[in-house]
C-alpha cells in the first residue's frame, strides 16, 4: 500500500513549519514520527496534499525543567527517549511507564509524544495519561505560543483544539514528587494492539489515606476521559474505599461498540481495570 502523492516540505525550524502551514492551509499535515499519519495515508483514509516534515527540527527534542517546576518535553521526543529520560523517570515515572505501553519497540523508536497527542486518538495511551496528569501542550502559531490544558485539548474524535497553523512544540507535565503511586492497566486483544480499554490510576498517599486520586480512561469515548466520580469518592478516604469507588468508573463515559467489545463490556472493563489500577497504585 502506497500513500497518495503529496508535496513534501522539510522544515528546518519551527518557524519554517508554521510558514508552510500558513501557506498551504488545511491541505497540509504535519509529519512527526509518522506512526499515526502514515498508516492512515497508506490506507488512503488521509490524503494530504502537502506533508510538512518536522524530523529535522532538533529544537523540538529533549526534556528540561521549567521555571514553574514542571517538565517540558519536546514534541518530537520519541516514545523511547521519553521512557529513557532521567528527568522523566525521576519526576514523572508514570509517564515513562504509560509510554512503555505504546505500540511495540519499533513503534516507540519512531513515534513521538507530540505526534501522539496531536493525533488525539482516545484509543491511544498518552491522551488519557496527559489528562490524568493535568498536563498540557504548548502550541506555537504565527502569533506566538499558547498553553492548552489537556482538559481542553481533546475536542472530539481525532479532533483537537489545535489550529491549522499551529505546531505542538512542547508537552508539559507536573513533577510528581512525594508519595505518589501509579499503575496503567491496559486490556488489549493482542500484544501491541490499541487498548480495548485502559485505566490509569495515580494516587498520592498521605498518612495512610488517599490525598489525591486521578483516573484516566483510554477508549471510553470519542475523547479520553477522567473517572471523576471515582476520584471524588476516594479523596480523603482509605484504600479500602477503592473497590466501591471503582464501581463508578463508567459513569459519564460514552464507550464505543465495535467488533472487539460492546459498550457494556467496555463499561465492565473500565470498572475492573480502574479497581486494579488504583489498588496497585495505592499499594
Amino acid at each position: 500500500m502506497i500513500p497518495a502523492s503529496f508535496e513534501y516540505v522539510r522544515a528546518n525550524s519551527i518557524e519554517e513549519a508554521i510558514g508552510a502551514l500558513q501557506e498551504h492551509g488545511d491541505e497540509a499535515k504535519l509529519l512527526a514520527g509518522g506512526h499515526s499519519l502514515l498508516p492512515l495515508m497508506k490506507l488512503r483514509l488521509a490524503a494530504p496534499e502537502v506533508i510538512v516534515d518536522l524530523g529535522r527540527v532538533d529544537a523540538l527534542r529533549g526534556v528540561c525543567e521549567t521555571d514553574d517546576g514542571r517538565l517540558a518535553i519536546g514534541a518530537m521526543t520519541s516514545h523511547q527517549d521519553v521512557i529513557d529520560d532521567d528527568l522523566v523517570r525521576q519526576h514523572c515515572g508514570v509517564l515513562a511507564d504509560v509510554t512503555a505501553h505504546v505500540g511495540d519497540a519499533q513503534v516507540r523508536h519512531r513515534g513521538t509524544i507530540g505526534g501522539a497527542l496531536a493525533h488525539g486518538d482516545a484509543a491511544s495511551d498518552l491522551p488519557a495519561a496527559l489528562l490524568a496528569l493535568d498536563g498540557s501542550v504548548i502550541a506555537q502559531g504565527p502569533n506566538g505560543r499558547r498553553e492548552i490544558p489537556a482538559s481542553e485539548l481533546f475536542v472530539d474524535y481525532l479532533t483537537t483544539a489545535l489550529n491549522d497553523d499551529e505546531v505542538v512544540v512542547e508537552v508539559r507535565v507536573p513533577k510528581l514528587d512525594g508519595d505518589w503511586g501509579w499503575r496503567y492497566e491496559k486490556f488489549s486483544r493482542v500484544a501491541q494492539a490499541w487498548a480495548i480499554v485502559g485505566a490509569l490510576g495515580i494516587v498520592k498517599r498521605s498518612n495512610g489515606s488517599i490525598e489525591d486520586a486521578r483516573v484516566g480512561l483510554t477508549n471510553m469515548g470519542t475523547v479520553p476521559v477522567r473517572a471523576a466520580a471515582v476520584e471524588q469518592a476516594l479523596n480523603g478516604n482509605g484504600t479500602d474505599a477503592i473497590a466501591d469507588a471503582a464501581q463508578q468508573a463508567a459513569e459519564g463515559t460514552d464507550a464505543p461498540g465495535d467488533l472487539n467489545a460492546t459498550p457494556e463490556f467496555r463499561q465492565h472493563l473500565a470498572r475492573v481495570l480502574t479497581r486494579r489500577a488504583l489498588e496497585a497504585a495505592a499499594g
Binding site: 497508506k42 523511547q80 519499533q106
Partner: protein, 167 residues
C-alpha cells in the same frame, strides 16, 4: 522527486525518490536489498524491520525521505563479509542461533525477527525469556515458532556475551 542521501549497509546511496516512497520499497526496489521483506504492510508484523540510525523500525511505516542523511542497516549487512567463500562462516550469532535452534519454519518473518532481536540485545545483553517475548512483541511469526525464536535469541545473547554455546 526529492533527493535522498542514505547509507545502507555501509554503502552510500544518492537517489531521487518520489516523496511517497516507503523506506522498505526504496530498500528493495532501488537498492536491491530484498532480504528485507514486506509482510502485513500495516506496521503490525515487523517483517520489514531494519535499523534506522541504530534503532529498530518498521520500514513500511517510514518514508524514504525521512531517512535522508541517515544510516540504515538491513539483514543483508548483518553477517561479517570477510569470509573465504563460506557463506555461513561470517554469520552473526543471531543468524547462527536461528539456524541451530530451528527458530524458523517458512522464514518470512526471520529478517525482521533478527533485526528486532539485534536491537533488543544491544539494550539488554542478557534478556530473560519474558524480556525477549516482550521485546519482540512487534514481530509476528505465523508458523507459531515463538518457542524456538525465543531460544535462538537467548542462545545468541549467550554467545555475544562470550559464553560457551553448544552447537
Amino acid at each position: 522527486m526529492t533527493k535522498l542521501n542514505i547509507t545502507v549497509d555501509g554503502e552510500v546511496h544518492d537517489d531521487d525518490v518520489e516523496p511517497r516512497t516507503l523506506l522498505v520499497h526504496y530498500l528493495r526496489d532501488v537498492v536491491g536489498k530484498t532480504g528485507t521483506n514486506v509482510g502485513c504492510d500495516t506496521s503490525n508484523c515487523g517483517a520489514c524491520t531494519v535499523h534506522l540510525d541504530g534503532r529498530s523500525v518498521k520500514s513500511c511505516t517510514v518514508l524514504a525521505v525521512q531517512a535522508d542523511g541517515a544510516t540504515v542497516d538491513t539483514i543483508e549487512g548483518l553477517a561479517d563479509p570477510s569470509t573465504n567463500g563460506d557463506p555461513t562462516a561470517g554469520w552473526h550469532p543471531l543468524q547462527k542461533a536461528f539456524h541451530t535452534e530451528h527458530g524458523l519454519q517458512c522464514g518470512y518473518c526471520t529478517p525482521g525477527m533478527i533485526m528486532a532481536a539485534a536491537d533488543l540485545l544491544k539494550e539488554n545483553p542478557d534478556p530473560s525469556e519474558d524480556e525477549v517475548r516482550h521485546g519482540l512483541e512487534g514481530n509476528l511469526c505465523r508458523c507459531t515458532g515463538y518457542v524456538n525464536i525465543v531460544k535462538a535469541v537467548r542462545t545468541a545473547a549467550a554467545e555475544m556475551r562470550g559464553e560457551e554455546v553448544s552447537a
